[in-house]
Amino acid sequence: MIDNTSDRPTQEITLTVNGNEITEEVEPRHKLSDFLRYRADETDVRVGCEHGACGACTVEVDGKNVKSCMLFAVQADGSEVLTSKALNDDDELGPIQEAFHENHALQCGFCTSGFIMATKELLEENPDPDREEIVEGLSDNICRCTGYVNIIKAVEDAADRIDTVSQATGDD
């Protein structure tokens, strides 16, 4: 048994969070969600269940979504982490956020960052999802306020917005 009264093991890790490189000494037991909230001050990572069921803490680590409460921060050492905040452009809301706002897809807002990250990954893999694909894509996230109706609308709207942006900029 590890002596947890004084010299608990620690480890230095470096993460790039929303573009900022952060080096910190952490206990291996610290969750990525706690690291992001307490060390990186990315409080948009919300903690709703801490057992990988609600999806509020979803972030992107090296290009794929994970529930950050289910990863120890040391496991993300050397990784690039994105939180929902990074999807806003400068001072403007990003297209997914804008779509959530326009479609009243948030009420208390506590689950929203997670849904935004889920939407991002879904639309990257499938820029024009049908309703069934949206449901499947967001099935790792729980919302208790909206009944999901407007979230589905927001994802459809976000797909259009992103499509318009990429057409305008000539991306494909």
Binding site: R46, S84, H104, L106, C108
Partner: protein, 875 residues
């Protein structure tokens, strides 16, 4: 026109006149104004309770009970205290010795210490609080606290507990020693006589024991700070928490801290992470204990965030848990004559403050939407070794309405009548509105039968080639899928008057004697008005101070829309800051579907008052009569200067400026008399106004006087919904799939259709959850079974059926704005509606719903008990 109709028409006209006489246009109210709250949330600029991390904060964790019922024989904190990062271990003795008080309970002569006192009575009960440098370490130290228990027999079943000699708290409550903490019987009219005479009486038992509850994604949390050396005017305690109803339920915090209200500042976020009624009773324990811990450690802020497992296991987070014995009497022609509902509600270990009112609210709609004159309503609040209940959206009515609809189905069956026909026969006639119920509550308005017909009109197309095409239904049945549908109209009462909330603190003999029209004067009725305050800033923006608390409802948006229209400005010109409990007048807050209804009504009053004051100010400035000015969009205009001779050049100049903007008015206001002083007392400013919108029932005394004097629940806002859910029951697996829900929903005048729809969607989904899947289960020895989201099956996006919702607006005849409650929509009506459709689906098998939630295993057990279905034909 009948007298009732006349008075109703008058009331509606009054509201309409009000709006049409308003000088400013209705640009925003009634339209889909996008929410002001969103941008901050989406940019992470809005702080939730968890997000505040002062650098000197310490972190708390609890030692919680692993047992449902046990004597605590010893608590050894020495090993914990020896840990070098331990800052505090607090037991109830430490708390009590420091002079703090028990927490409020909902019943007279009950007390609950925030930490277990000598015994534990539910799993997850807080036994000790540990404070350390961070949460990880706090949990390490909590593991070092050694508690010795001697186990006692656990009580889980409500019917067993009510008779048991094994009494949890033998010294508490008016029935001591008894697990029945409080009980009452209401005889309304002559139920016995009617039951005696009726052609038919049916009696059935029902269980709504799921304890389905809000389960917001943000758990209860608090950051308490003790100011060890307060300067004059500084409060001793500051609590940052997601306490719901913080401007009046703060009493639960300062009373336990044994402080006057002024010494405890309760700050809440501008938007908390959901509540649905629950956070009024789930948070204050932590608010109190973090504040106390802060004092004990010398003033560092102490933060506690409940984790999900703590919350589901012992966080006071569950709700309604009832066993019903219910009867109705009716005649051969289907006329319902009387109802008699007895219920025992399992409140768990403590009857928590105000949650106990959840058994009283149904009394306000004791007859449901039906014209029934006689009723008996009996309830028992029973204590067991389950975790204590909190309040939840609907406040006890969803189960009541469900029982009503199940009995209506049964009556239809007995008489071989169509279930819609028997309902239509008994709905209260629109002509009888305002309608006084047997308990003396009054329903103001609404055409129930017409609403039901309207929803069937929507469904009509489904009957030909659609979901309800008889051929399709038949085909499915052969495959073992039983499709059902039916219309239930369910009432959604809101705006409960404050007075009845203290009913369960009153000795019952006094309730019978003093609280009668003969003995109690109307002026004795305690009400809580809706305060609203506004002032104009020097840049012309209008600051509105609201006392209500937001957990996602959109308070800022609604207040901005209302004031924008009142003053002819835009919502962007309105500023709605967060208010601490000490910054504003007390208000009931976000409960009882109040916010939009009373805030909108208060905004009308406030607008009127402010406009009047500004007209006076302008008239004074111009030296003309108030008749000669008029408030217009964003300021006051001169109508005429007839008969006015300028006294000097300055006066003449003033008169030349024929319109004064809000910015100009505020400068004029602050310059007058005292010169250019921005420190002029607020009370003297004409650009500041305070308005109280009186309690709606109190204001409509002619209707509600009797119920209020009798200290019975009055709910003057009666929204309603008529639903036709189309459900498929797989009779082999018991799974229920909702194909579609058709719904006509009426919550009076709509202020923001987008927000109203959002409430509908969310409420409907919570209704689906409560009806089909959410359950706080317990083992026989009192161990909770739903301690994670793997077991607490909150609806996911996959559970969303197709919804077709039509909004209807029958304006309230009682509220000033015409709005009615929408905050508790969905959860109130959907469970009853779904069960009604399931009854229809399973009618061929002679199965009826008697228990919630309708999980596949329950549905299967009903079908099995009924003798099973014919095996589906193989394809």
């Amino acid at each position: 026109m009948s007298q009732a109709e006349e008075s109703k028409a008058e009331r509606v006209k009054e509201v309409e006149d009000h709006i049409s006489n308003q000088p400013t246009p209705q640009n925003y109210v009634g339209s889909e104004v996008r929410r002001k709250e969103d941008e901050k949330i989406l940019k992470d600029h809005r702080e939730y309770v968890q997000d505040r991390n002062p650098p000197d904060a310490l972190h708390a964790a609890y030692v919680r009970s692993p047992h449902a019922h046990a004597e605590i024989t010893d608590i050894d904190t020495s090993a914990a205290e020896e840990h070098d990062e331990c800052k505090l271990v607090m037991t109830v003795d430490d708390y009590r010795d420091a002079g703090y008080a028990p927490m409020l309970c909902g019943i007279q002569e009950w007390a609950e210490w925030p930490l277990a006192d000598g015994k534990v009575t539910y799993v997850g009960q807080c036994v000790a609080m540990v404070v350390a440098t961070d949460r990880y370490v706090a949990e390490d130290i909590a593991d070092l606290v050694e508690v010795e228990y001697e186990r006692l027999d656990p009580l889980v079943d409500v019917m067993e507990a009510r008779d048991s000699d094994n009494v949890l708290y033998p010294e508490m409550g008016p029935n001591a020693p008894s697990n029945v903490a409080f009980d009452e019987t209401f005889e309304l009219g002559d139920p016995d006589g009617v039951f005696e005479e009726a052609d038919h009486v049916i009696e059935k038992e029902f269980d709504w024991e799921s304890r389905a509850s809000g389960v917001p994604l943000e758990t209860p949390s608090a950051l308490g700070t003790c100011n060890m050396n307060p300067e004059d005017g500084e409060e001793k305690f500051h609590v940052w928490s997601n306490q719901q109803l913080h401007t009046w339920a703060d009493v639960a915090i300062y009373a336990a801290l044994d402080q006057p209200r002024e010494e405890v500042r309760v700050e809440v976020p501008l938007t908390a992470g959901g509540s649905y009624g629950t956070k009024h009773a789930t948070v204050y324990r932590h608010a109190v204990l973090t504040a106390v811990a802060s004092e004990m450690v010398g003033g560092n802020p102490v933060k506690y965030v409940e984790d999900r497992i703590e919350d589901l296991q012992g966080g006071d987070s569950a709700s309604t848990d009832r066993h019903y014995k219910a009867k109705i009497a009716f005649n051969d022609d289907g006329e319902i004559l009387a109802n008699d509902f007895w219920l025992a509600d399992n409140f768990g270990a403590f009857p928590r403050f105000i949650c106990t009112n959840q058994v009283l609210k149904p009394l306000a709609i004791v007859n449901g939407p039906y014209d029934v004159e006689h009723a008996r309503y009996e309830y028992e609040i029973v204590c067991t070794n389950k975790m204590p209940q909190t309040s939840y959206r609907g406040f006890g009515t969803p189960a009541h309405s469900w029982v009503w609809e199940m009995l209506m189905d049964e009556a239809a069956d007995v008489l071989d009548m169509d279930p819609t026909e028997i309902r239509l026969k008994n709905y209260i006639d629109e002509e009888d509105m305002p309608y006084k119920t047997p308990s003396a509550n009054v329903y103001g308005e609404g055409d129930y039968a017409k609403t039901v017909r309207k929803v069937w009109d929507l469904v009509e197309d489904e009957k030909d080639g659609g979901l309800l095409d008889p051929d399709r239904v038949e085909e499915l049945r052969e495959e073992g899928i039983y499709r059902g549908s039916g219309s239930a109209l369910v009432l959604e009462p809101g705006l409960g008057c404050y007075d009845y909330h203290t009913r369960q603190f009153i000795p019952r003999d006094e309730l019978a004697t003093y609280y009668t029209p003969e003995n109690r004067d109307f002026s004795d009725v305690v009400t809580m008005a809706e305060p609203l305050e506004a002032y104009i800033r020097t840049d012309g923006k209008v600051v509105v101070k609201i006392s209500s608390d937001d957990q996602g409802q959109g308070h800022q948006t609604i207040a901005s829309q209302m004031l924008a229209d009142e003053l002819g400005i835009t919502p962007d010109d309105v500023v709605v800051p967060q208010q601490d409990n000490l910054d504003v007048a007390s208000d009931v807050g976000s409960a009882s579907s109040r916010m939009a209804t009373v805030m909108s009504s208060a905004a009308i009053g406030l607008g009127e008052k402010l406009r009047g004051q500004l007209e006076e100010l302008a008239a004074d400035h111009w030296g003309i009569d108030t008749e000669q000015v008029e408030f217009d969009e964003g300021g006051v205009k001169q109508l005429s200067t007839e008969g006015v001779e300028p006294v000097d050049k300055r006066h003449a100049e003033r008169l030349e400026q024929e319109f004064l903007t809000l910015t100009e008015l505020v400068h004029i206001d602050k310059m007058m008399e005292t010169g250019d002083s921005h420190f002029k007392p607020q009370a003297e400013l004409k650009t500041y106004a305070y308005y109280e919108y009186p309690d709606v029932a109190y204001e409509n005394r002619e209707y509600f006087e009797e119920a209020m004097i009798r200290k019975r629940p009055t709910y003057p806002s009666i929204s309603f919904a008529a639903n036709v859910p189309i459900v498929d029951v797989d009779v082999e697996t018991g799974e229920i799939e909702i194909q579609k829900i058709y719904s006509v929903r009426d919550s009076g005048r709509i202020i923001n259709p987008m927000i109203v729809e959002g409430q509908h969607h969310g409420g409907i989904m919570q209704g689906i959850g409560a009806a089909l899947q959410e359950e706080f289960g317990y083992s026989e020895d009192g161990q909770p079974q739903s301690t994670t989201f793997f077991d607490m099956m909150l609806p996911s996006i996959e559970n969303l059926p197709e919804l077709e919702i039509e909004k209807q607006e029958t304006w309230s005849v009682f509220s000033k704005s015409g709005a009615k409650g929408v905050g508790e929509t969905g959860i109130m009506d959907i469970p009853a509606s779904l069960a009604h459709s399931v009854n229809d689906a399973l009618k061929p098998l002679d199965v009826t719903v008697e228990e919630m939630p309708m999980t596949p295993n329950r549905v299967r057990s009903w079908i099995r008990d009924a003798g099973d279905a014919p095996a589906p034909a193989d394809d």
